[in-house]
Amino acid sequence: MIPRATVPAALHYTRRADSRWVVALGDEVSRGSVLASGMCFEHAAAGGVVVHVDHQRIVIRTRHDHRQELLDPIDPRDPANRQAVLRRIQEAGIVGLGGGGFPTHLKLLAAARGNVQTLIVNAVECEPGIHCDAELIQHELPVILEGIDVVRNLLGVTETYIGCSRSTFFELPAATTELIEPVEPTDGAERYLVSRLTGTDLPMGVRPVDSGSIVLNVGTLHAIARAMAGEALIERVATVFGENLRVLIGSPLKHFGAGEHFRVGGELSGQVVGADAAITKETNAVAVSGQFKNLPCIRCGACDTVCPEKLPVASLVGISSSEGVLNHAALGCISCGLCNPVCPSDIDVAGTIRNMKQVRQHELTRASAAQRSLERSTQHEGRRLVQEAAQAERRAERLAKLQAAEAAPPVDPRA
């Protein structure tokens, strides 16, 4: 058994876009109750009382109450249940547990609509500081295999590949296992894994689904199997201070140990967060972290040479503004974090680029929203003008008729 972390005094949840809180201040919740619904679902990982709600965050003061709300089990082998299986994966709040956090039901839906023939199981733990997948495979392989079965049945895939490192090695009948040895820090990245296993190179911005394959992390597959049994995604295995634990999603990082700053994620790609952060569904590792010195960039170009995507990293960090073509290049970053340890000025290079990428993505979203809104308002305005013109015409006609009636001599009713 993987050891369970203790239940913290409070659980913190942050709402994802496209979902709404369904609980209010003072509500009693139990383990497994729905907190947010919509495109993405969120569930309480422990029973308690909602003590804080705003549009972004929710806090639950926990009680020692271990009753769990379960959903009805679904038989994923029944072909009539395909819709129900997808719906369940959504309602169980499953997102990519490898660190991407992309809603799994959307990925599966895209795969079901596209022509996906290949399932790629991502068990490549390629970064120092994360070994939760190895632990999961060692203790709960049957559940993962169940999850693989669910996805195979759902999508009718013909080929299954398992990408793994030495610590996460496992095999499966009717699947090709590829042992990646030695492991490079980029080997677990979706695009790299697809090209390694299937031989298809994916350009930036092209999803694996577009090239006929779907990549799912072992943790995600585990969660899918649990969801079929009725359990929502409320806990995950994470490497916490070097130890693999089953942690409740929403646990504040302070609960696991003291520190001013924590690193969430692996030693390379991890992000430094403040002490008020909490475990999210994407959190695969937590450690205490120092802070970057962020000395001035000396333009040594070391980051440029290590970047696997051949991005102009030094120029990106150097301009540090949200404008121009270079900012666009940040979109190609796969957040592997190789640039951070080579920096002699101890700059948070990967973090800087991550922010630029977010800014750029935000700009693009705004631009496309403006475009959509312009199209719709143009249509609306056009229709309004046509309606108004028609109305004016009818009014003119009626007026003309009225005037004609007035101008004509009155009819003598006796005639």
Binding site: R15, A17, H55, Q56, H362, A369, R372, S373, L374, R376
Partner: protein
């Protein structure tokens, strides 16, 4: 030979001057209006005091109206406008807007059809005498529908920034 080189150089030089001039002084006010309009968020919310984004763009170019009148655009739109029109009365950057969408309390909606024609992006669906609802994906959060409701069943709800 010299004549050929000289003429090519001359043509090139004139071309460069023209290209620069076109960038610096756009050919007409109308072009500039379109450029300004392209920077506005197109919510058509009328919070600037003009009936939509294009009328505001026209007012900026023709009447030198200040650039800080667009609350949904926030600091991002403001700085883009200042960059395009550096000599214009800029005003101060508005605060970052909180993204919001309108939500109709469907239990209280009486189906009066007053809010539907007001929505600039046709994000409210419904028919006279039937319940109306907001297409949350299309709603730009302009809030124009809120004052039209006779039973006050439309509320603006803040959403996380996407």
């Amino acid at each position: 030979m010299t004549a050929l080189i000289a003429s090519i150089a001359l043509v090139g030089l004139i071309g460069l001057i023209l290209a620069f001039a076109l960038k610096r002084w756009p050919s007409s006010d109308n072009d500039l209006v379109l450029q300004v309009n392209a920077l506005l968020p197109q919510t058509q919310c009328a919070q600037c005091g003009y009936p939509g984004c294009l009328p505001y763009a026209r007012a900026i170019v023709e009447n030198k109206v200040r650039l800080d009148q667009c609350p949904p655009g926030g600091a991002q739109t403001h700085s883009a406008l200042v960059r395009l029109l550096p000599d214009h009365p800029a005003g101060s950057a508005p605060p970052e807007p909180a993204a919001a969408i309108a939500l109709i309390d469907e239990a209280r909606c009486i189906g009066c059809y007053l809010c539907i024609p007001v929505c600039p992006v046709d994000a409210i669906v419904g028919a006279k005498g039937f319940m109306h609802t907001v297409l949350t994906k299309e709603c730009t959060g302009c809030g124009l529908c809120v004052p039209t409701c006779p039973v006050d069943c439309i509320a603006m709800e803040t959403v996380p920034t996407r």
